[in-house]
Symmetry: D2
Subunit: 343 residues, 4 copies
């Protein structure tokens, strides 16, 4: 059965495996001090247009989130997140396990805006409450929406005015940066957030996220955090080699672009059949709302998550495409849906 | 310059890379529920002669140590370790960061014996002190020594009599199990410790350690710990495929055996030149004690760590061999050392 | 200016000071093993009708909450609380600082009901999310409401069916147990929650809360938690003596009853003037909704907290009475309010 | 049986109880913002000759230690302590429970000197190890010895040269500052450590320690730490009133001086009988080494701790005197010891 469950159902882009083979027996320093990691950092700094950026490779998104957030906060400080934020809902309390509260707020499209942050700040005024210090967002968001440059500028500017740090979870940053309506670049990000990470696992890598720290005050001793949390791989080359390949000839953006194109094709087809969506389909995750009986039948031929009940006989489902999604599968899905509707 | 600094200077055994390529585009479930991981678990259970063993793959040793130890202990409980234990000296306080004290004791050869544990227990008698609950050992130890079956039996038996759990760090378990004097099998381990892990990173893998839990009381909900600590890789197949290859046709033991053979050859050559060792050379880490001026010169042709000052003009160095160590390099090292002595 | 800000504006009931003086020079064991603490525990067990109850005295409510909750939970487990719960809003992330997430839900009257807990449970289904294990409630609640026996029975019963533990914060338990509509006894509590505490600080003591553990599985090694969190006072006698006095001749209930009577008098007077309340006035905290201009003037003669905006020109205020509240002050407040209305 | 077990066997100095009675019904702000606490802080600042000192009252020593140390350290930083330090041996892992490692070193007299700290620093050189950042000492030490001004100057100076902070646990500071050989004043302390606390519990108070922060960089938001750790008493007046009394007419020093005089009399008597001591008797804790058979018999008439085995038939015992120790009891102890020797 073909799977639209997620963007990590396959292995890695072949270039990555090829590079692993070619470099396999070259002896290298351990713990991320190998020449591939160093070179990948140079290339990323160049793409970021930020020669001073602090860059570290870790093996996964939860690890990146918990390390960055806990490195920023003092024990009594908290992080603000949309209620739907990944750190709040799908990381088994990883942030709280480092000792910090997440202050949450409901937002329809998964994005945070200055007024959301303001609402939280106004509730936290003295030492009987935590002190919000970091704002966590993701691009794309947990519900597939994409930040516009203006939105990020406004949020960042509000953060700076209020002594807050802005951290962006980029597990699906590739899809965000190549979304049809996107107007953000890597270089913008480096300017408009204090720290973020570039997700490799969900965009063609075997595993790996590149943490980027722009804010000078967050750079010191960061490798201590990596080591303490079990994130400093002895064969760090494995991560460096992957990012080296992903950012050669913009492979990273090309892979994400394919995923977005496949999702857009799915979305168009579904729209044509007259269905609506939980959130606007903007990236490689889309959430069509379909009749429950059709969902049941679709599920016999395709794998995907049923996301939320939407009224009595309808639910939203989540369809995710990736660098590896085959156009035939997209066509097959649309054809199957169409035929189920005609029954 | 050829490096004897560690056993993670190269990539992975070619079989692993080959398997990654062959399986690359097969869609799989995420988070370690893929068919390769499931099959690897079956094979390991068979080798362990323990069909009920709980097995989980994680990406590194510090991660394995902190997850297992923190999953065992209540907040006020502690872990006992040799002073030289890796969790005590080289993990940046990873155990303490989960809230737990390490009770340490000096031991010359890096091993813990019942009398060492007894000494700690006798000092901890009421609620003004932590309550020791777990004993941490590693095989091979931090200084390259290897546990004998009798030693492990005595320690395990003492632990059971005193309501303690025994956890074995097997980052270099391959070298331990194939050491010339070894009389332990994987199946013995499964009987003689409550939990342990089988190190893949330092014995031919790209990354990966297989946590094995024998003790029934430690099995429940273990995947929650993995997720909370950032250890549940979305592409868990990467770990499963590697252990599948490593335990096919006993590749794991063959790789370790090569490392030990290379270390033994180094040790013999050094003994012949009349040098002694910090600890008995038993595995793939050996610690010859050499004159400082010779060490300086050796270091211009080979990479290795200088370990400890031993008297006025002597130091111990650490030489580590691996599955990838070339016999020519071993010969070259001995030849160089010999020629330096003759100067 | 007379203060209705809280129930801890004065010192202790004179009986307590008297007892401190009379026992002052008798030598006693430290750390809560003194004869006064032992005797107080016996008396409490008798009142609870639970000779096996585990009882410990600590110095404050946040301390009691964080110690009990963190002693119950495994690292990946969470506690469920009303959004308005004290642990969620006014303890500076004390629970999260012990590593645990609080799962919250909005409830109008500050109480949790089985359907609230069910809603949370249904959202937490696998290892990507925390595992709710404890339900936190308080009686009286943060907004002054009081649990009925039937409500507690239903909640406890739901908890037991779903493998949850029920913990009750009794910082203002005296007021709850002597509220006009109360039908719960200390003995009921001992049956209907797994652990709770009896607040001394806010009902006549200098400081002190008595933690009561009924559930057998939570009793072991509890003193270790106390010590580790800095809650084991070397002069534990200070706490024991107070509870001994408070539970002699039901002083505790008589003091709370006075507070409730004073609050009821305030509430009746305010109702007579035609004002409504944020929540039903049931205990020693009441929340009348008054015009903002009147609040400003009242505040020049009486101290109290302005609680929440309620419409354009109205706000709720919090009035708290205590064992020490003077009836003249209550009369004075009502008279002042009346005269302000007539202006 | 008369007890020399500790200095917290009795209640409080009568002046304190008297002050509690006299102020009992005056309404005050909560959480340490009452007028007594404010006034006590003014008086202490004056004694410290440090008008900018940040001063906070908490209820006990373990609480003071864990709050100060965890407020100073980043997650990967550690605290250096003598092996015998109270935080290392008798606080149930309270420091580790906040996430931090304690680096320990054996010292015969319980004091730390620059060379001890240097030894630890030299072992901690990169991100695979914790980063020592704070030095913990106590005065008097766990074994009753007293720091000289020169020793503290040297240690502080070494700390400053090495970017370390110096924290002094003053649970028994009164005894230290009035020891016969003491040359330190409160004002010196304020200059020579970055933070310390003045112990009230063991020198005439019911409970209470005054944390003093001199180092500007440690002052911000300290009340958040107090609240989060459960240390902000709602009736903070209880602590303020005590310190107000203790520092009125130097009562604090007079009480400590009495304890020291009683200990000196005990020590002199024991020396005259020909016994030696584990450490030099300098303060209100002394550790004579006596024959085991005599210890057994003494223990039938006096309470004290047996401290350590010293050879085959000898042990050291700990005798502690306090502000409340009766000279008759001291005489009685010496007489009993003498008569046991003559048997």
């Amino acid at each position: 059965m073909y799977s639209f469950k997620n963007d990590y159902s396959e292995g890695a882009h072949p270039n990555i495996l090829k590079a692993l083979m070619e470099t396999n027996l070259v002896q290298q320093e351990g713990y991320g001090l190998d020449e591939y990691s160093c070179k990948a950092i140079e290339i990323l700094r160049d793409k970021l247009n930020n020669p001073e950026a602090n860059i570290h490779f870790v093996s996964g998104g939860t690890q990146a989130n918990l390390i960055v957030i806990s490195s920023i906060l003092k024990p009594y400080e908290s992080v603000i997140s949309a209620n739907s934020g990944h750190v709040n809902t799908h990381e088994t309390g990883a942030i709280e396990a480092t000792g910090h509260k997440i202050n949450t707020i409901d937002t329809k499209d998964g994005k945070l805006r200055p007024e959301d942050v303001k609402y939280i700040l106004e509730q936290h005024v003295d030492e009987h409450m935590v002190k919000p210090r970091t704002v966590y967002i993701s691009n794309t968001t947990e519900v597939g929406t994409v930040y516009k440059k203006r939105e990020l500028e406004e949020l960042y500017s509000y953060c700076k005015e209020n002594n807050l740090l802005l951290f962006l979870d980029g597990a699906r940053l590739g899809s965000g940066l190549t979304a049809p309506d996107n107007d953000l670049s890597l270089s913008d990000l480096s300017r408009l957030v204090d720290a973020f990470y570039i997700g490799g696992t969900k965009n063609g890598g075997l595993l790996g996220e590149a943490i980027v720290i722009s804010n000078e005050s967050l750079k010191a001793d960061f490798r201590y955090y990596l080591k303490q949390r079990g994130a400093l791989l002895s064969k760090g080359r494995l991560l460096g080699i992957q990012f080296l390949e992903l950012f050669k000839d913009d492979l990273y953006l090309r892979l994400a672009s394919h995923a977005n194109t496949m999702a857009a094709k799915l979305a168009e087809g579904i729209v044509e059949m007259g269905f609506s969506f939980l959130t606007n389909p903007e990236s490689n995750q889309i959430f069509p709302i379909l009749p429950d009986n059709i969902i049941d039948k679709l599920n016999q031929k395709f794998l995907f998550y049923v996301w939320s009940k939407e009224g009595d006989n309808m639910s939203s489902i989540r369809l995710v495409t990736s660098w590896a999604t085959k156009e035939e599968a997209v066509d097959g899905f649309l054809k199957e849906l169409k035929s189920l509707m005609e029954v």
